[in-house]
Amino acid sequence: MKILEVLWNIFTNPLFYKLTLTASTPLLFASLGGVFSEITGVVNIALEGIMLLGAFSSVVITYYTGNVWLGFLLSIPIGVGFSWFHAWASIKWRGNQIVSATALILVAQGLTGFLMEPIFGQPGQTPYVGRINEISIPGVSKIPFLREAIGTISPIVLLAFALVAFAWFLIYKTPLGLRMRAVGENPEAADTLGVDVFKIRYFGVLMSGALASMGGAFLSIGEVGNFRELMTGGRGFIALAAMILGNWNPVGAMWACLLFGMSEALANQLQSSPLLNVPATVKPLFNLFPFVVTLVVVAGLIGRTRPPAADGVPYEKEE
């Protein structure tokens, strides 16, 4: 069986694992963002749009300042500002959260396409502006296999996984985390106990903006060094599925993102495998993998997951 040989080659290749980590990283940022927002009770399907804006703004800032790190860091407040609109509409004005988020996705798609021409003078794709360099991890460079897999890696990948620990600690081990969960489960009770439901929800949504924006920035200046129209390609929605699959828990979301990252890496490797004798026209079909995996997993594993009780329900303070 040729296919088994191909799969064996892929799974024993350390680069496959590096590719898995890299593919998981943008999903992980956005997925953590989703956890922050939904745990306080605001559904945020705008992750896709925030990521897109983060990817674009980091390229623009890098283009003007010549510094990729400035690009990465300054795209965060832009993501926060953008997600503020979603918070404002859904918390203050008690709007339909899914509709508001859909609107933001459209605005992000429109805005990034619109600004491309005035800023870069060309539609479709920006020029290369530079990318964040990989760093080498001292101890690992002596261990075979691991050396090729994670010996040199983007610091943003490490940041993503560090943020999982941070999010877990904040949500489950701090008073703020307790308040966030209380607001998402039972806002009335939290309000009675003196928790400012609105403030906590704003915090949750704005954090999702910061995180999703970093995820987007990784896609552009973290990996390829430029921005292409609609380059997020549905990753915001896969991140959403990962959050659901991970049961609204940062660690669970991490495992789900790794699963999706691996299916993306596998699709990628299968396409470039010289051993696999399939026509060039069939190869793009491998791109289906992450989406089919998401579909199967979301459909098959729900029932074991439970969203926060007040997720998606606007809170009306009693006068």
Partner: protein, 344 residues
């Protein structure tokens, strides 16, 4: 009565506010919004050809708007009109290709039904998963969109591919083509618009005058009460999704039968997503959706003309986004409107 006035005023003022914000954006990139909007209006209605183009663009939008709007009525958020439209177009193409020798009176309805079936089956997957496992349709329909996109690009470069250059399928049989109403230069305004409008009227009747429509609306309004009243939620979810998908599929079929006469792969170009804006602006009312489709189509044709005066056409997507945002948080618009009235 009050509700009905708001149903009209909120979308109206949302569009006005969105156009004003877009004007500010146009100023910010150093262009003149008056010139830009003038170009837009000329591009959409300036002459017969512009108007025909707008109506051609209106045709599929009515159907994707109906698809999303029907879903909303049933309490389902169908973001998958895009994928359902693609599947409808593929199936209509495959059937339409094989209609050589079949008279148009048979070939046209068969090809249309194929398109509806393609969309219905594709949407039913999401409906079935929601009913059986509770998988949220927003996530599943988005995944199905991407899967449909990749399948279509595979078909168009592989099994269905014909000729060289841009990927395309063979032409459908002449008997499966929709006859044009008017021909302006190279532009054929198809009779598809008539089918779209008739469909909107049919959906209006189904929703307002039939038992099925009542059950759909009851499920959408309050699923628990509907279940208590003896309406099967899961049956209704799958059925509503299938009808919603059939409408999107028909949009794809009409694009093939009336416009391109073949499948071009990336035909949808966001028309499924436009359906969301249209359903919201039309307040999920089939007749409102016809007007909303015309509005969005005018913005689209107009925006191409705006490019000649230096304003990227993406401004339309921004306008659409702002409109939806304001409709979502309709209290913003209501508050603005009330505040103005008080001041007077």
């Amino acid at each position: 009565m009050k509700g009905r006035i708001w149903a009209f005023l909120v979308p109206f003022f949302s569009v006005v506010i969105a156009l004003l914000i877009a004007a500010v954006v146009i100023v910010l990139i150093g262009q003149n919004p008056v010139i830009a909007y003038k170009a837009m209006i000329e591009g959409a209605f300036g002459d017969l050809q512009a108007l025909a183009d707008t109506i051609i663009k209106t045709t599929p939008l009515i159907l994707t708007g109906l698809a999303v709007g029907f879903g909303f009525r049933a309490g389902i958020f169908n973001i998958g009109a895009e994928g359902q439209m693609i599947m409808g177009a593929i199936l209509a193409t495959v059937v339409g290709m094989n209609m050589r020798g079949v008279p148009p009176s048979l070939a046209i309805p068969l090809t249309m039904i194929a398109g509806m079936l393609g969309g219905a089956v594709w949407a039913s997957i999401a409906g079935y998963l929601k009913a059986k496992t509770g998988a949220h349709e927003v996530v599943t329909t988005i995944m199905l969109n991407w899967i449909a996109t990749y399948i279509s690009s595979y078909l168009i470069t592989g099994p269905l591919a014909v000729g060289s250059g841009t990927p395309k399928s063979p032409e459908i049989a002449p008997s499966a083509k929709l006859p044009p109403i008017v021909t302006v230069g190279a532009l054929e305004m198809t009779s598809g618009i008539v089918i779209s409008i008739i469909t909107a009227v049919v959906i209006y009747i189904v929703l307002e005058k039939t038992r099925t429509g009542y059950e759909v609306k009851a499920t959408g309004f309050n699923p628990y009460a509907a279940e208590y009243g003896g309406i099967s939620i899961s049956k209704n979810i799958v059925m509503s999704m299938a009808i919603s998908g059939a409408l999107a599929g028909l949009a794809g079929a009409l694009e093939v039968m009336g416009l391109h006469h073949r499948f071009l792969g990336t035909l949808s170009g966001g028309k499924g997503f436009d359906g969301i804006s249209i359903a919201l602006i039309g307040q999920n009312h089939p007749i409102g959706i016809i007007f909303a489709s015309f509005l969005i189509a005018s913005l689209r044709t107009g925006s191409s003309n705006m490019q000649f005066v230096g304003v990227p056409k993406h401004i339309v997507t921004i306008i659409q986004g702002i409109v939806i945002f304001l409709v979502a948080a309709d209290r913003i618009v209501k508050t603005l409107f009330r505040a103005r009235k008080v001041r007077r």
